[in-house]
Symmetry: C2
Subunit: 140 residues, 2 copies
DNA sequence: TCCTACATTGGACAATGTCTAAGTCAAGAA
DNA sequence: TTCTTGACTTAGACATTGTCCAATGTAGGA
């Protein structure tokens, strides 16, 4: 994740303890925390960090394209640091767990021209829902 | 939409003025209102209808499978009465307009077995984003 | 080391949604 | 038709998630 910090500094980011901690929290595979979770984890390392700063920092990371915003359920948005590899999401409808998944083919091509209604289509998100192995075994 | 009311009565629904009005508001093509918009429109016909009732009724329609809940942006959920024809959504990233669209093929098959991680996958939602013709012409 | 523009803070506020207790009423029973 | 009852509605308090602002702090260049 220090790569990320370097990249951001290169873009004129001022490197503060708060931003470093938020970036550290988001480091890792299959990370999909809510802003609140990020705040709680960050506060574990830097107790005085404020909610506003976490929201600001996440928003900046998103607009810089370093993190993707995912809203799977209309509740709190989740933040996915895996922004440099095209992928989609698989969500457990019971416990809310999210996995990154990769599809056959490009879903953009599945939308026929007449179904585009003159829109200039640039992006597609695909979300699969189902029951994860863990929930399946505990509920049966 | 009276079909809907009949179906619901058949399922033991008590047919109240409030529910009738909510159902009427949701009648039509390409309807994707937020709960608040449904409330405002319903209040136009039945001024004393409360927010709680609108939320309750929408929730019931969703769990009965008569209406689909759509959350495209992490803000307010929208309610789509087109629940009996499989379709996906095309959203304008600028003005938020939503269109129902139909895809080539079944997006469920695009998720390879090894990418399912033992999940029992049952549902997929695909959301296309772009700029609608209207926003394109007014912004240029 | 000093400056200063940018970052952080805490708390008020906004938007959306949920819950509850009390009153109301749809629809079957008599 | 009228009665009865449990389901429905209501108003408003409360919860969750996110945004905004004025005051204060500080990273990093001069």
């Amino acid at each position: 994740m220090s790569d990320l910090l370097e990249r951001l500094r290169g873009r004129g980011w001022r490197l503060t303890a708060q931003r470093r901690v938020v970036a550290e929290v988001l480091d890792g595979d299959h990370v999909h925390y809510t802003a609140d979770e990020v705040h709680a984890l960050a506060a574990g390392r830097l107790p005085e960090i404020s909610r506003a700063t976490v929201y600001n920092t996440l928003g900046e990371l998103v607009s810089l394209g370093e993190v993707i915003e995912v809203s799977t359920d209309g509740r709190a948005k989740r933040y996915d640091p895996n922004a440099h590899h095209d992928h989609q999401h698989l969500v457990c409808s019971q416990c809310g767990t999210i996995r990154d998944v990769h599809l056959h083919g490009d879903p953009l091509t599945a939308l026929p021209e007449p179904e585009r209604y003159g829109f200039q289509v640039s992006e597609v998100t695909v979300t699969y829902r189902g029951i994860c192995p863990n929930c399946r075994s505990t509920s049966s």
